[in-house]
Structures are given as structure tokens and as C-alpha cells.
């Protein structure tokens, strides 16, 4: 557990996960999958927080992860509720189908 390379590699892993999540947001057209990719990005960030918390030897990073999780839960609940509402109106889940806000 005190392996010094862990922290560094964990941050690298978080970077990769964050990058994959970001890519997913652009690659996938299904709204729900996009939301899941956002969760993936958040998890990448969480991992970075935990790793830095470990490196710094303080718990503040973990407390932040706690709050990120709370916000993620709220985001998922509201996001999925919106998805359900959208699906009811348009009968599709394609992100590109929803563009009423165009200028």
C-alpha cells in the first residue's frame, strides 16, 4: 500500500479514464450513454482526488470525493428524469434530435 509509484500511476489512470469519458461524450449519440460517460469523467476526477489526498497525507481530497458523489447522484437523478421526459415527447434518445435551443 505504500508503493510510491501507486499514486503517480493512479493519477495517470485517472487521466486515461477522464479522457475516455470525454471521448465517449462525443462518440456516443445516446443521451443515457452520454450521461454514463460523464459519470466516467467524474470517476476519473475522483480517482485523482483520492490519489492526491494519499500523496498529501490529508483527508480533504476524500471529503471532496464525497461531495462529488453526492452531486453525481443528484445529477444522475435529474438527468435521467429529463431523459424520461424527453423520450416521452420525442420518442428518441439521440442527443442530436434535441436542438430546439438553436440560435
Amino acid at each position: 500500500m505504500d508503493h510510491p509509484a501507486f499514486v503517480q500511476h493512479a493519477v495517470l489512470l485517472s487521466l486515461v479514464l477522464f479522457g475516455l469519458g470525454t471521448l465517449g461524450v462525443f462518440l456516443r449519440r445516446n443521451v443515457i450513454t452520454v450521461l454514463m460517460c460523464v459519470e466516467l469523467m467524474l470517476n476519473g476526477v475522483n480517482l485523482a482526488f483520492v490519489a492526491f489526498s494519499r500523496a498529501a497525507g490529508t483527508l480533504d481530497g476524500q471529503v471532496l470525493v464525497f461531495f462529488v458523489m453526492v452531486v453525481a447522484a443528484a445529477e444522475a437523478a435529474v438527468g435521467l428524469a429529463i431523459v424520461i421526459a424527453l423520450n416521452r415527447h420525442r420518442d428518441t434518445l439521440d442527443v442530436d434530435a434535441f436542438r430546439l435551443m438553436k440560435g
Partner: protein, 652 residues
């Protein structure tokens, strides 16, 4: 003993809050209480709260002097409600009250006279539809006035100060359907604002000097300040002068006296309570309360004295030529307030409070008496249409006579004693000129009051047959307070009170409140000829009026012709209203119209808003295509921004 002490902390708050409860109940449930036109439930409720409040105030005062529950008494107490009203940094204002001899006197005057006037209003307002509103305002006024005199710090005093101003506005404009009433209310409000600005600035100066706005702190520390000589304008003088500006507004002194005569548009009990007995004396109270501070500034003292004297004289001269019964009384109030400020200005603060206290009795009596007359005359206020009412409304006449005697300074009536002390104070402190003017004003006072009396109650009735037919004596709810006040106007001048000195010693009012001012005790040199001179002046004034109005009315025309230029100035009220009107019209209204409205408001402010709108709209039009509606395009922009930011942070 312990219970009593606990009670002492609470009772002053009860005195204060009872009228407020009355107000809350009446304003919320007033319409519900008033079931029909004759029902006086609202009035009883209001009277009840104020009467109980008076009882509690009397108890508190008794405790203060150790009359009940222990020989020691309180002497001085500062009940504290236990929480802060304002606490910001080092600035704190606790919700504390101050009960000392001065505030005790004021508290008794406010609740005592106040409850008499409440009772009087039961009869006077019997026919009005809006009684719950009237009584709720009256209760609210009582609350704010009590807060003003009991508040333990300047901010609390200021809250009361503004509150009574508000109630004054509401009650002057009580008959809001009458244009002149609303206008008068507005005038009172606006003129008072000018004074209030001075009061706030004065408070800021005081805070700067003392680091506290607590009245006791100020009194304790004022002595440590360096006294400022005449024409030396130091911080104390500036603070005192600014506070005095507030006092001139509230107490109707030149140059802010113009609102008080107009305030007579309100119902007569209001004029009696607010514009004669209590609210307008708030300025005197404030100056007396800050006596230790004023004492340090010779300039401020002189300004106070001169303003008071000049106001007394001018108001007295104007009163001579007025024909409206209430306006005569209004100007006489202004004049008497001038006397009080003269007393304060020459250092006789105790005497100022003494005159305040006697004045409260006889001026309330006079106003209520005039109200009774107006009631009898079915609302007519012009003295030109009265006359010979002596026989028709005897109770009103005799009580009114007592009041007139008191204000004119006839010996053995209250006003004689207090006015004598003021003159004595002016004389012994070497203000000979002011003394002369004051003595002459005393003569004027007797003259215009006698004129009022003769025009109203003597001679033949001039109001026509129909009006004469309706003249009737007022109901007991109105006569009762008149009688009580008449007794007060007679005996209050030589009534003795237990002093703070050695136990059992009875002293007169000035000595009662003297400890509050923290002034060095000075031996009073009585001037043997002064009472005689004052009496002579009063009798002379009365005789002049008697000659001109009763004995030889034909002399009046020639006297009028001889004094024409002076009378014209008096009738024009020294052109104050004209000048103010011209100033307001020319500078304020036209300046606002031409510069502030057309240039600043329409040009700069509106222009800026409109231009902002146009610019935003044009920008939006230009940026519209960026909004594709595709979420992922937005996300891409966010990502690009993030990458740019990270690159900048990493490689810069």
C-alpha cells in the same frame, strides 16, 4: 425583593409594548371590533392599553424613587432586554431602555396626557367611521413616543423619533379625502426629513467622538471633552448643531417651523397630543437629554437660545393676527417651544423640562377646549363666527379660562412658575437682550390668548342663527379630561415631588431632573422684581386685548392702520412659506425637470440602459449562429476551453 427587581427589568418594557399590542390588535382586528357606527369597542381597547401603561409607568416611577418596595429604590436603571438590536463589528446597539428621573417625567407626561386625550377622543371621534384606524394610529404613536423617551441609546431614540414622525404624518392626513389634510401631512413629513438628516449626521459625529451611542455613556464621558468656547466650531459644536437641526424640525423652530400650523388639519385630539403636548417637545427632550454634551459647546448653547427666542417672538406676533382658533394655538405652541429652547440654551435644562411639563397640561387643555368649541360649533374653526359661547358651554369656558390663565402667566397658574423660571434663567446668565424679548413675548402671549378668549366666549354670537341653534355642550368623555387637565394646569406649577436628595425632601420639578444633566450645582439668585414684572406683562397683554376687542372695539381700526406694515408681515407669516415655495418651485421642481429629468434621467440613465440593450441585442444577433442547438458542439467548445486553459497553465 428579588421578584421586585426582576419586575423592574420587565415593567418598563411592558409600559412600552402595551400600546404596541393595542396597535397590532386594532390594525388587525379593527374592522371586526367595530360592529356598527356607535360601537366604541376600538376606543375602549385603545384607552385601556394606554391607561394600564400609565399605571405601570406610575409604578415604575414610584419604584425609581423608592416609594414602594424598599427605601433604596432604583434611582437609576437601565433595563436590558437581553439581546442586541444591531451588532456589527464594534458597533452595537442593545435593546435597552433608560429609566431615570428625566425619562420618568416624560413617560408620565406621555402616558398621562396621552390617556386623557384617548378618553377625550372617545367623545370627539364618536361620529367617525374610521375609529379603529384612528385609535390604532394613536396607540402606535404612544408606543413610538415612549420608545423615544425611554430608549437607552440614540438609535433607539431615533427609531421613536421617526416613528412619531410617521404617526404624525398618518394622523395629520387622517382625513385623507381632504386635499389640504393630505398636503399638510406631506409637508410635515418632508420638513421633518430635513431635520432628521441633521439628527443622523449628529449621531455619526457623536459616535465618532465617543465610540458609543449609549445615552449613559455619552453623559458619563461628555464632561471629559474639552469645552469649546463661543464661535469655536469643534466636533462637539458640530454634533450639537446638527442634532439641534433635528430638534428644530421636530419641535417646529425657525427655520423648520412651517409644518406645525398646517398640521392643524388633523383631528383636534391629535393636535393636542402630538402637536402640542408630546411629539413636538421631543426636540426639547433630546437637547435636555444631551445636556452634558451641549454644555461643552458655548456656540451651540447660544444658537439654541437665540433660535428659541426668535421663534417665540415671531410665532407670538403671527398668533396675534390669526383667525382660526386652532392656528392661534398652533403658533402659540411654536412660541412656547421657543421658550423651552431659550431655557435650554441658557443652561437651565431643568427649567426647560419644567416648562415642557406645565405646557403639556395647559396646551393639551387649550387644544382639547378648542376641540370642544369646534365640536359645539359643528366643525367651525373661524373665530370670526364665534362669540358669546361663555353661557352656552360653561364647562368648556371655565376650563379654557384656566388654560388661558396658565399660558399667559397669571400667578398661581402653572405657566407663571415655569415662565418665570425661564426669564430668571435668561436674566441671571446675562442674556439681557434675550430676556427682554422673552418678556415682550410673554406680553404678546397674554394678548393673543386673551384675544382668543374674548373672540370666542365673549361678545355676541356672530355665526348666524342656524349655527347658534346647534351649539351644545360636549359629552362627559370630553368634559372629564378637560376638568382633569384644568386642575393639572393650575397645580402643576407648584406641585412638589420627592427629590433624589436627602430622604423625604420634596422639591419642584427642575430639581427633580437636575441630576440627569450632570451639571455643577449653582445657587439660584432670585430676582425679587421679576415675578412682578412678569405678572405685569401678562396683565398688560390681557388688558390690551380687552380694550381692543371688548371695551373699545372702535379703537381696533385705528390701531390696525397704525401698525399696518408690521401686521402685513405678521399676516404673511414672515414670508417663510412664500420663500420656501419659491425656492422649491424654482430650484427643486424646475431644476429637477430641466436638468435631472430631461438630461440626467432621460439622457444618461435611460440612455445607458437603452444603449446597453441595443448593444446586447446586436451582439446577440452576431453571435446567434454559434448556438447550433447540438449539445455536443457546446461540449466541444467547453473541452477546447479546458484544453487551452490546461495548456496555458502547463506551458506558461
Amino acid at each position: 425583593m428579588h421578584e421586585l427587581e426582576a419586575l423592574d427589568r420587565v415593567l418598563p418594557f411592558a409600559v412600552l409594548l402595551l400600546p404596541l399590542c393595542g396597535f397590532v390588535v386594532l390594525s388587525l382586528f379593527g374592522e371586526w371590533i367595530k360592529k356598527d357606527k356607535e360601537d366604541a369597542g376600538a376606543g375602549y381597547m385603545a384607552c385601556g392599553t394606554v391607561l394600564v401603561s400609565f399605571g405601570l409607568a406610575a409604578w415604575t416611577t414610584a419604584r425609581l424613587y423608592g416609594l414602594v418596595g424598599g427605601a433604596e429604590g432604583l434611582r437609576f436603571s437601565q433595563p436590558y432586554l437581553g439581546f442586541e438590536w444591531i451588532e456589527a463589528g464594534g458597533f452595537r446597539v442593545p435593546l435597552s431602555l433608560l429609566v431615570d428621573p428625566l425619562s420618568a417625567v416624560m413617560m408620565l407626561v406621555v402616558t398621562g396626557i396621552g390617556s386623557l386625550i384617548h378618553v377625550y377622543s372617545l367623545g370627539y371621534m364618536a361620529g367617525d367611521d374610521d375609529r379603529p384606524r384612528f385609535f390604532s394610529y394613536l396607540n402606535l404613536f404612544t408606543f413610538f413616543m415612549l420608545l423615544l423617551v425611554l430608549g437607552g441609546s440614540l438609535p433607539l431614540l431615533f427609531v421613536g423619533w421617526e416613528g412619531v414622525g410617521l404617526c404624525s404624518y398618518l394622523l395629520i392626513g387622517f382625513w385623507y379625502k381632504k386635499d389640504s389634510a393630505s398636503a399638510a401631512g406631506l409637508k410635515a413629513f418632508v420638513v421633518n426629513r430635513i431635520g432628521d438628516a441633521g439628527l443622523i449626521l449628529g449621531m455619526i459625529f457623536i459616535y465618532h467622538a465617543f465610540g458609543s451611542l449609549d445615552l449613559v455613556d455619552i453623559a458619563d464621558n461628555a464632561g471629559a471633552l474639552a469645552p469649546e468656547k463661543l464661535w469655536e466650531i469643534g466636533p462637539v459644536s458640530v454634533a450639537c448643531l446638527l442634532l439641534f437641526l433635528g430638534a428644530t424640525g421636530k419641535s417646529a423652530q425657525i427655520p423648520l417651523h412651517v409644518w406645525l400650523p398646517d398640521a392643524m388639519e388633523g383631528p383636534t385630539p391629535v393636535s393636542a397630543l402630538i402637536h402640542a403636548a408630546t411629539m413636538v417637545t421631543a426636540g426639547v427632550y433630546m437637547v435636555a437629554r444631551l445636556a452634558p454634551l451641549y454644555h461643552q459647546s458655548a456656540t451651540a448653547m447660544l444658537v439654541v437660545a437665540v433660535t428659541g427666542t426668535v421663534t417665540a417672538l415671531m410665532a407670538g406676533t403671527i398668533a396675534i393676527v390669526q383667525n382660526d382658533i386652532k392656528r392661534v394655538l398652533a403658533y402659540s405652541t411654536v412660541s412656547q417651544l421657543g421658550f423651552m429652547f431659550l431655557a435650554a440654551g441658557v443652561g437651565a435644562f431643568g427649567v426647560a423640562i419644567f416648562h415642557l411639563y406645565t405646557h403639556a397640561f395647559f396646551k393639551a387643555l387649550l387644544f382639547l377646549g378648542s376641540g370642544s368649541v369646534i365640536h359645539a360649533m359643528s366643525g367651525e374653526q373661524d373665530m370670526g363666527k364665534m362669540g358669546g359661547l361663555r353661557k352656552r358651554i360653561p364647562w368648556t369656558f371655565w376650563t379654557f379660562l384656566a388654560g388661558t390663565a396658565a399660558i399667559s402667566g397669571i400667578p398661581f397658574f402653572a405657566g407663571f412658575y415655569s415662565k418665570d423660571e425661564i426669564l430668571l434663567g435668561a436674566l441671571t446668565t446675562g442674556h439681557t437682550v434675550l430676556f427682554g424679548i422673552a418678556l415682550f413675548t410673554a406680553l404678546l402671549t397674554a394678548a393673543y390668548m386673551a384675544r382668543l378668549l374674548f373672540l370666542t366666549f365673549f361678545g355676541a354670537f356672530r355665526g348666524g342663527h342656524d349655527l347658534e341653534h346647534h351649539v351644545h355642550e360636549s359629552p362627559w368623555s370630553m368634559i372629564g379630561p378637560l376638568v382633569l387637565l384644568a386642575v393639572g394646569s393650575t397645580v402643576s406649577g407648584y406641585a412638589l415631588f420627592p427629590g433624589l436628595g436627602e430622604a423625604g425632601a420634596r422639591v419642584r420639578l427642575p430639581e427633580v431632573v437636575q441630576p440627569v444633566f450632570r451639571l455643577p450645582a449653582e445657587a439660584v439668585h432670585h430676582v425679587a422684581w421679576l415675578p412682578a414684572a412678569a405678572t405685569l406683562a401678562a396683565i398688560a397683554g390681557g388688558l390690551i386685548a380687552w380694550y381692543l376687542y371688548l371695551s373699545m372695539p372702535e379703537l381696533r381700526a385705528s390701531a390696525r392702520a397704525a401698525l399696518r406694515p408690521a401686521l402685513r408681515i405678521f399676516e404673511a407669516k414672515y414670508y417663510f412659506d412664500t420663500v420656501y415655495d419659491a425656492f422649491v418651485r424654482r430650484v427643486v421642481v424646475e431644476g429637477s425637470d430641466a436638468l435631472l429629468w430631461r438630461r440626467v434621467d432621460a439622457g444618461v440613465i435611460d440612455g445607458a440602459v437603452n444603449r446597453a440593450g441595443t448593444v446586447a441585442s446586436a451582439l446577440a444577433q452576431a453571435l446567434r449562429p454559434v448556438q447550433t442547438g447540438f449539445v455536443r458542439h457546446y461540449a466541444l467548445l467547453v473541452l477546447a476551453g479546458a484544453v487551452a486553459l490546461v495548456s496555458y497553465l502547463l506551458w506558461s
